[in-house]
Symmetry: C2
Subunit: 599 residues, 2 copies
């Protein structure tokens, strides 16, 4: 059976040494989060993930969810108890606002905890994850009354939340939505239609389920400009906050899937259900995007989190499994065979995973920190920069971390040989679970299109030029540092390639939009690799500063090892950028030349 | 539900126009295979694959195999009938020798049929596939009496065959085998031990199961040099060919796996079972390698075959599913949305699949042709060249086709969006099934080590220098051809990169074997891409010669489309070679620097 230990030292290194979140202690939320508080949350969170969530991960995969004849859904054994404990112990409320009963801590702390939960049990952690997204949407777009009605119980997890977007005829293209909303005299709406692939649309974990539903108000504009957002509770909420009548919708079926079996993927049938408009009529997409952006960062983390747990198990296996002899002479001559970690190709897979995981974690946490600054900084310029970074980098995190996270999980399976293919070993579940992250919350193709079609051009390219400034400022601030030289050189190389790709897109993407579309996937990958080069250089810098000054003494190799992994990234991962750049620059010609019936 | 149509025109184009197998009609086997015979086999095989095997593929995945309390194994519904039909209609005997009741046709014809079966139902096709490997091993290493006893019924499929290598403590490292063989006065052996992951070790398809078992003769040398090969029939065979007593072994359990559920993966317990030595004592690995090489080419084909069927379904989905509008203006303005095949990133995934599949099919068929020439050519030099190519390229085909085949199947899933993640759609089964091909018959890491550690150095590098001659001869024979120029230039580019990587390995791999190990994976990928560049240039040449002379008239775009796909390969796939070369040249330093406990 697989194991999981939260990478606490990695997380603390990032928060304290690389991101130096202590320097923000004068800001709201951060002022509530001195190092000892964060340490306590991470340490306790780690225990919760390993001891409560991880043990029911394989069970969830095998049992899956069950829809009962009355339309109710039973989650796998142990999920209900784990959910209750998570809610009771306040784990869901880390970054929720204190006015709604949350702990009011920075989101980056909640993100670190979310990473642990996702590694320990991805299917389970989607229930609180989506609740968090729904919380944000109501927080952003809802009326004061809606906030008062729903947010406290959603903050605690007593009630859960969902997002209802997809219909059979529309996934990506939400302009095709048919679910309709008919205004009622009392200001509410009657919602009718079918939604599919609704994660947690029905379950037995929370006392109430707060559905956020996209629908078209009868007579509203066609297409995406006629879509409104509604809050549709499973049980109506009385004035005093108690639960009232059951609303008119039901789970009509569960989807059988490749993975995340512990999460209920529901067909939801709305049959004149009572809903309330969130925000303005016909402008539902705006608020839904708040929720989706939150969710996209979370989905990126899922890719990373599955890679992490798969990697941990691969590393353990590589140390334990004895097979063959080192090609440079036996390393365990007293045993029948050497542990397979002596074999260079086994190392290659482990190092690929490690360099990806640690670099991507830095990337995601750094971006999440921007999300915090966006909300709490008093400085308009800081907020603008943070907003630009968030908007620009969210699709990169979603696409890059899930593509490479799946690859890393698959490499971790590979390292196990035949054992990895068996269900008993358990690593294959991580591969199946990780696969969905490349698809939902906007396929990775949509992320790439968002990046090249929207984010690059926004505000005259302000965000992307800002990101180039981030890269260049790091280089110029550190190019005199002899010890940092190889890392700074790597950032320079990556920056040059990203600049070349960006210029190509700006020159060719406008004249023929297909050029932008055809290059978008490789451009996103190039972007991700460049972002990771900056993160690895930042980590190398922090490691060099800390090295030898570790409180764990001279025997502590953490910082020296960090530098080795950084070198690996620049030597053996970053070279992929060259291929991606070459593909970016071919344009649409070879991609679009065949007729549709030639495939 | 997924569909499958054998790519008959692609197969015929390869056999007749690219490989020109008609030019070998003066050779044995080929003389029995004029074009109308091959056409009839491919056309009939295509119907068998689509109508008999494909419909039970999803059923096999859902039902899986079941071990009964008596140790017998029940295969999924429909498998038994399909197997009987396959055997009765002679489909298993295409390339078996006529003296054992086979059709005596070239192996390349059998390979094309095997590709269809694997696309239609990979789990099913492993039963005849392994039987074929066991047939070859007995054919190669067995005594005349053993051949007479086993081969006719194995050729027809009436009896099936297996390979028993793995034990709990040894997969890759067969020197650790503990199963023992005790000589008996009558010349037979008593075999005792446990084998695991034995595909088809027990099933209800064939009347008898001929186990080939690696074991150590009591008192024999330690390690790999004391391993012998035994034939161990499930039912003893009487002198008259009738079946006798049940032998003393049993299936002790079935493995639960990520995929290929329709294939029984057995724990086999041998309890003093009667076995007969195949070939010389202690030299069992030699014969087993014959079987493994046969099987490795077949496994490479599985990677390709899963990519093909996944791609076909993705292409159909892309033409049917309407979502969004083309970014260059609607292509179906009368409909609510355009088919997604208008989107460049959807095209990218389809083109990636197509360029990989068609190039790899040419590579595998060309290599299989070498296998035929090796057996039937009267010319010693042709046989030597064929043998060199087979030995050198088998690990490349196994590693490259299964790595990229899995990636292509996963891309095909991606193209489906959320639909692809559902079991109902069925494409996710191809991804799960394809995943094993990277592992079994020697993990892809072992293939890479075989390539750099053994195949490069064999006979003073004769095979690899011969392959460079193949590349250069194509270039020099065609560089004057103006229309072929871009393709020839691509081959030259790839050749230069492979040469650089090979030189690096020769200079650095000997001084430090870890350099060879650390570079092996990327070197194999570089090798595969170079081989595909030659194949695509060969196909482009054939297409240029045929273009405009097609019997289907001027409206036939097959050859023009082939040239477009060739360009795509050189523009958008081959650039990966640059990254792989860069990684090859880093050597072991960054890969091996961490201590084992740093992971």
């Amino acid at each position: 059976m697989p194991r999981y230990q939260a990478p606490l030292r990695e997380m603390k290194f990032l928060l304290y040494d690389v991101l130096e979140i202590g320097t923000y202690s004068n800001l709201p939320r951060f002022s509530e989060a001195p190092q000892d508080v964060i340490d306590a949350i991470l340490d306790g969170g780690s225990r919760f993930a390993s001891e409560v969530l991880q043990p029911i991960n394989a069970i969830g995969d095998r049992q899956g969810c069950k829809r009962n004849p009355d339309g109710s859904v039973t989650t796998p054994k142990g999920f209900k108890e784990a959910y209750k404990q998570m809610s009771d112990d306040g784990w869901m409320a880390i970054s929720a606002d204190s006015e709604y009963g949350g702990q009011g801590l920075p989101r980056i702390v909640a993100l670190a905890f979310a990473e642990m939960c996702s590694s320990a049990n991805m299917a389970f952690s989607m229930y609180p994850g989506l609740t968090r997204g729904a919380y944000e949407a109501i927080h952003h777009g809802g009326s004061d009354e809606q906030k008062k009605t729903y947010l406290p119980n959603m903050a605690s997890g007593k009630w859960s939340g969902t997002m209802n977007l997809t219909e059979p005829q529309c996934g990506t293209d939400l302009g095709l939505i048919r679910t309709k909303a008919v205004p009622q005299p009392d200001g509410s709406y009657k919602i009718t239609g079918q939604k599919i692939w609704i994660s947690g649309g029905e379950q037995d974990l929370a006392e109430n389920i707060i559905q956020l539903v996209l629908a078209r108000i009868e007579g509203g504009p066609e297409g995406i400009k006629g879509i409104s957002l509604f809050v549709v509770p499973k049980f109506m909420v009385n004035k005093d906050g108690s639960l009232g009548a059951r609303n008119s919708f039901q789970c009509g079926g569960l989807e059988e899937k490749m993975g995340i079996h512990g999460n209920a993927t529901c067909v939801m049938n709305y049959d004149g259900a009572t809903g309330y408009l969130v925000g303005e009529a016909h402008k539902g997409m705006r608020t839904m995007f708040v929720m989706m952006n939150e969710a996209r960062l979370g989905v990126g983390m899922q890719g990373l989190a599955q890679a992490e747990v798969a990697y941990q198990n691969a590393a353990n296996f590589a140390r334990e499994r004895a097979q063959g002899r080192s090609i440079t002479g036996s390393k365990a001559p007293d045993k029948p065979a050497d542990p397979i970690i002596v074999h260079p190709d086994v190392r290659r897979m482990l190092m690929d995973c490690k360099a990806f995981i640690e670099g991507s974690r830095a990337f995601a946490y750094w971006t999440a920190l921007q999300g915090d600054l966006l909300h709490v900084s008093p400085d308009q310029l800081v907020r603008e920069k943070a907003d630009d970074r968030m908007a620009l980098l969210t699709p990169v995190i979603k696409g890059f971390l899930t593509d490479r996270g799946f690859k890393a999980a698959s490499d971790a399976l590979q390292l196990h040989g035949g054992t990895g293919y068996t269900r008993e070993q358990g690593v294959e579940q991580f591969v199946r679970d990780a696969r969905i992250a490349m698809i939902y919350e906007g396929t990775n193709g949509i992320q790439a299109l968002d990046l090249v079609g929207r984010k690059l051009a926004a505000n005259g390219g302000r965000a992307v030029f800002g990101f180039f400034s981030d890269l260049e400022e790091f280089v110029s601030a550190n190019e005199g540092n002899e010890k940092l030289k190889p890392y700074v050189a790597g950032v320079q190389l990556a920056t040059g390639q990203l600049r070349e790709g960006t210029m190509w897109l700006m020159q060719n993407g406008m004249s023929n939009f297909d050029n932008a579309g055809a290059s978008s996937h490789d451009y996103l990958q190039l972007f991700g690799l460049t972002a990771l080069s900056l993160m690895w250089a930042k980590m190398a810098k922090a490691a060099l500063e800390k090295e030898g000054r570790s409180k764990d003494g001279p025997g502590d190799r953490f910082y020296a090892d960090k530098l080795i992994t950084a070198r690996y990234f620049f030597d053996r991962v970053l070279p992929d950028a060259t291929s991606h750049l070459a593909k970016v620059k071919t344009g649409a010609g070879p991609v679009m030349a065949l007729s549709a019936d030639a495939f």
